[in-house]
């Protein structure tokens, strides 16, 4: 665009120069013809000296732009060509015109006369202006045309690319629906689609393998864990066990219980990931919540935590019953764990959300909170999967879970 502008700008003086030169040459030729013709015509008339003088006076007064003057024969005056600018004699307004002039010696009846002819020529200002206007006009046409053409071209040329992009945007590794890219004639785009297809296929297979791996690994671990647990139970029954040995065995037992739990939770996550649950069950959320509160009552009491509940009755939702139970339990247990003794927990169930609010000291790291095995707090006694499971269950049931910290309270909200 700038290039076009520069070229056109340079063309303005060039055009002017060319037009002006052609014009001047033509006019010079024209002036010369007039001078020659005048001299020839006057000679043809063969007027007497007196009549000639009169005629010349008459000529000078009626023939605009020319002038015949008698000059003395002594000395020769060279022809001269020049340009003058002057005010029109008959116009009142200031109006400068440019004239191309020729003064030359003509011979009438063998006497020398100075013949001057002036022909109007376009002023350079006007010429430049007209050329500039024309140039700008064409510049605008070129630019507008280029823009329109470019847009049209890019729409057709980039259409396959846009299609590919739109399809990529809708792709979700979790759903694993294969993408079919449109065929195009452009080899670059065809190559791009091909590469993308391979990349996606590879990703899906890696993702699947990994998911299956988690599930298989957890499954395979169950049996050795079961053997370990049973052996430990037998060891604890040994009558020769000293107190020290008993405590070691009990510590092992605790660690084993924890690893079994982590394993079970991993298995649960893998199963949710692999969509092995029915999410179309009709569940009564308020009833599940009530059940959960009753089950956990002793734990509230033990830490002397006061619980206040406000719940809409008969809230039925679509989802998976056992998963929702896990969701509620995990949220409540999380609140119990992280509330200091004598603290308070508020449960609010509305038609569109469920909120668990508990008193806390400082805000937790939102980015880490729902990630697997990344305890956002200093306390490490959990499996590190409780909140990750909450998030996965919400994702699976197309709910969402959010955390915020307000006025010294942790608030976990689930939106249905």
């Amino acid at each position: 665009m700038i290039y076009v502008l520069v070229v056109l700008l340079i063309s303005v003086p060039v055009y002017y120069f060319v037009v002006d030169t052609i014009w001047k040459n033509e006019l010079d030729e024209h002036n010369r013809i007039i001078a020659d013709k005048t001299a020839y015509a006057l000679n043809q008339l063969k007027l007497s000296g007196d009549t000639l003088l009169k005629s010349i006076v008459l000529w000078n007064s009626i023939q605009p732009g020319t002038n015949i003057q008698s000059i003395s024969s002594s000395g020769t005056i060279k022809d001269s060509v020049y340009t003058i600018e002057k005010q029109k004699s008959y116009s009142e307004k200031p109006n400068i015109d440019r004239f191309r002039c020729l003064s030359t010696i003509i011979y009438i009846n063998n006497k020398q006369y100075l013949f001057t002819v002036e022909t109007n020529i376009e002023e350079s200002k006007e010429t430049i202006a007209i050329i500039a206007i024309t140039t700008i006009f064409f510049f605008i046409i070129i630019v507008a045309g280029l823009l329109v053409l470019n847009r049209k071209l890019s729409i057709t040329i980039w259409r396959p690319f846009r299609n590919t992009l739109d399809k990529l945007k809708t792709f979700n590794l979790n759903h694993q629906t294969k993408i079919d890219f449109d065929k195009t004639d452009t080899s670059e785009f065809e190559e791009l689609s091909h590469s993308l297809r391979e990349l996606i296929a590879h990703n899906i297979s890696v993702y699947k393998t990994q998911k299956e791996f988690t599930e298989n690994a957890s499954h395979e671990l169950q049996t050795p864990l079961a053997i370990l647990k049973s052996k430990l139970d037998i060891l604890l029954q040994n009558k020769d066990l000293t107190e020290r040995q008993y405590h070691i065995a009990e510590e092992m037992n605790k660690a084993l219980i924890r690893s079994s739990r982590i394993n079970k939770n991993l298995l649960l996550l893998a199963k949710i990931d692999n969509s092995q649950f029915d999410s179309s069950e009709n569940l009564k959320f308020d009833m599940l919540l009530q059940q959960s509160i009753e089950t956990l009552e002793e734990h509230f009491e033990q830490k002397n935590i006061s619980v206040s509940t406000t719940a809409v009755p008969d809230l039925s939702l679509n989802g998976n019953g056992s998963l929702t139970e896990i969701l509620i339990n995990n949220l409540l247990l999380n609140a119990i764990r992280h509330t200091l003794p004598n603290g308070s927990i508020t449960l609010t169930l509305t038609k569109s959300s469920f909120e668990v609010t508990n008193s806390g000291l400082k805000e937790l790291d939102k980015d880490l909170l729902f990630k697997r095995f990344s305890s956002a707090s200093a306390d490490n006694s959990g499996s590190g999967l409780g909140l990750a499971i909450i998030k996965e269950i919400c994702r699976f049931q197309k709910w969402s879970v959010r955390y915020r910290f307000e006025n010294g309270h942790h608030i976990f909200s689930v939106y249905f």
Binding site: Q222, T223, L225, I227, L256, Q302, R337
Partner: protein, 225 residues
């Protein structure tokens, strides 16, 4: 009491048998579907522990077979799969209980105890230990014929101890039994201590002997005959 352990994992089967043998249970093994099929056709068991994932067949089929033959053996499914569908299906076909691996042997023993008691004493299921009388069906307890009021958890604990007489049961195992899937989320297991303390106190106050002993501070043992 005869128990059939259908489990392809030999070590686990042996552990179970070892733990149960001290309780006067006689254990037999079947490591495959066909072995198990032979045994259940030939003998009668008080309780069958059934792993549903066997190398040569699905344990669920055995369950159907038992039902078909109208056998009254109690069945506890022990499975590495914690699939709710399996659980429901198993219980529908006729299993009495479902236990997910890994489990504590004391948990298994308590469940075997309950099932055998239920099967054999379906009308009046009463356990007596000197002055202590427990009605498993009505879920009541009395000492010297005076009723003792226990909470659901306390009664549950008492049955667990009775089912694991003379065994050391650690606090963490009890915590897992009492709170099921929540145990790992809880900071401490003091709630176990609170329940046990209440149970002990109630029984002792009613005039029962000191049957429940503390072992090394964190374990418990029910002394029985």
């Amino acid at each position: 009491m005869k128990i059939l352990i259908i489990e392809d994992e030999e070590e686990l089967a042996r552990s179970i048998a070892e733990y149960l043998s001290e309780e006067n249970y006689l254990c037999e093994f079947a490591a495959s579907y066909n072995q198990a099929l032979d045994k259940i056709e030939m003998y009668q068991y008080d309780c069958i522990l059934l792993d549903i994932m066997l190398p040569d067949g699905n344990g669920m089929k055995l369950l159907e077979e038992l039902k078909l033959q109208d056998k009254q053996d109690g069945v506890i499914i022990i499975s590495a799969k914690n699939a709710l569908d399996d659980k429901i299906k198993g219980l529908q076909i006729g299993a009495d209980d479902y236990l997910t691996k890994p489990f504590h042997l004391s948990e298994l023993t308590a469940r075997i105890y309950s099932i055998i008691r239920r099967k054999q004493f379906s009308n009046s299921n009463i356990v007596r230990q000197n002055e202590l009388l427990i009605d498993l069906l009505a879920k009541t307890v009395s000492v010297n014929n005076d009723p003792v009021t226990l909470t659901k958890k306390e009664f549950d604990l008492l049955i667990y101890f009775i089912g694991n007489k003379n065994r050391v049961i650690s606090k963490s195992t009890l915590a897992e039994h009492l709170s099921g899937d929540f145990a790992d989320m809880l900071d401490n297991h003091d709630f176990v201590y609170a329940h046990v303390k209440n149970l002990k106190k109630k029984l002792y106050d009613a005039g029962s002997g000191h049957y429940l002993k503390t072992v090394y501070g964190t374990g418990y043992k029910w002394m029985g005959s």
